[in-house]
């Protein structure tokens, strides 16, 4: 594979890796995230931060996967990182120091899944509104529960 050299360079920073339709997927611990992303950005040209979101596995422990995608223009390739975080303290380090666009995307993931991004000082709701209780994309959020701002007419 084209990215084998990169993966062997980064060995030790991730726990396991596999291939997903030609894209490398790395699973790592939250402590290694900043080191790994700094190296990906500096040495391998992953200069574009595509997305951060989460996956909820209600039966699993740790419950959440935080999923990152990056794109490298020099390599014309993407990479996916997965960090498992527990329900009691779903915290990962923030990437705002490395990518400015992380500010908004981390706010969205915080809205929808309640992931704490330590280091992001502005985790106000971005898609939701002030006063919204809970995290709507978690599996235990009731599917039809609404929290209207305007009181309904009779």
């Amino acid at each position: 594979m084209a990215y084998d050299a990169m993966l062997s360079d980064l060995r030790g920073l991730y726990e396991r890796s596999w291939d997903s339709f030609g894209m490398p997927v790395l699973e790592l611990r939250a402590d290694d995230l900043l080191t790994l992303v700094t190296r990906l950005r500096g040495e391998f040209g992953f200069s574009l931060f595509l997305d951060v979101t989460a996956i909820d596995y209600p039966e699993r422990s740790p419950r959440f996967d935080v999923v990152y995608h990056f794109y490298s223009r020099s390599r014309n390739g993407r990479i996916r990182l997965k960090v498992q975080v527990p329900e009691e303290r779903p915290a990962v380090p923030s990437l705002t120091e490395l990518y400015g666009s992380a500010r908004f995307m981390e706010r969205e993931a915080h809205d929808m899944y309640g992931i704490e991004f330590t280091g992001n000082d502005d985790l106000r709701p971005i898609l939701l509104y002030e006063g919204f209780v809970g995290h709507p994309l978690r599996k235990d959020y009731p599917m039809d529960m609404e929290q209207p701002i305007v009181t309904y007419r009779k």
Partner: protein, 163 residues
């Protein structure tokens, strides 16, 4: 003597006739139904034939609020403010399945029909509605306006303000 120096009619019929052919719509466009709104208001289908063609881009000058598209809970206060800014007489059209009932969205974010927030005069089904449906709705609304009471004089009993 000229043919028509005067004519007699009922005041409500006269005012209703005038109002029904001068609908000034305010398009509150939030989603994909807006494409269908453009199609219905432009040349091929042309709501100008019904006197409802000139969109006013401020609610204060308009008397038909067309809510075109999905309204989320975060947007509901805006819609309510827009409705309250319009002067009487005013009518509301719920354009498309989402504005009518929430459509296929049954989740945390979408208002289940704008009639939970503001009174609606006419509902247009469809996802999105065909232009013919919208024209039909405009004509039905015109019938409603024409047959309605129009208390324009101060000595008349005013209609209750819709809330």
């Amino acid at each position: 003597m000229a043919m028509m120096e005067y004519m007699t009619t009922k005041k409500d019929e006269l005012v209703g006739w005038m109002r029904k052919f001068s609908l000034f719509p305010y398009p509150f466009v939030t989603a994909c139904c807006g494409m269908e709104f453009m199609s219905v208001s432009s040349t091929l289908y042309d709501t100008d034939r019904f006197g409802a063609a000139l969109p006013r881009f401020t609610p204060r000058q308009s008397d038909l609020l067309m809510v075109v598209g999905t309204v989320s809970h975060k947007e509901a206060p805006i819609l309510k403010t827009v409705y309250e800014q319009m002067c009487e007489p005013k009518w509301v059209m719920a354009f498309g399945a989402c504005a009518t009932s929430g459509g296929f969205y049954r989740n945390y974010s979408v208002v289940q029909g704008i009639d939970k927030i503001i009174p609606v005069d006419i509902y247009v089904p469809g996802c999105p509605p065909r232009p013919e449906t919208v024209i039909d709705a405009i004509m039905m609304l015109q019938d409603k306006i024409a047959s309605d009471r129009h208390p324009i004089f101060p000595f008349e009993a005013q209609l209750p303000v819709k809330a």
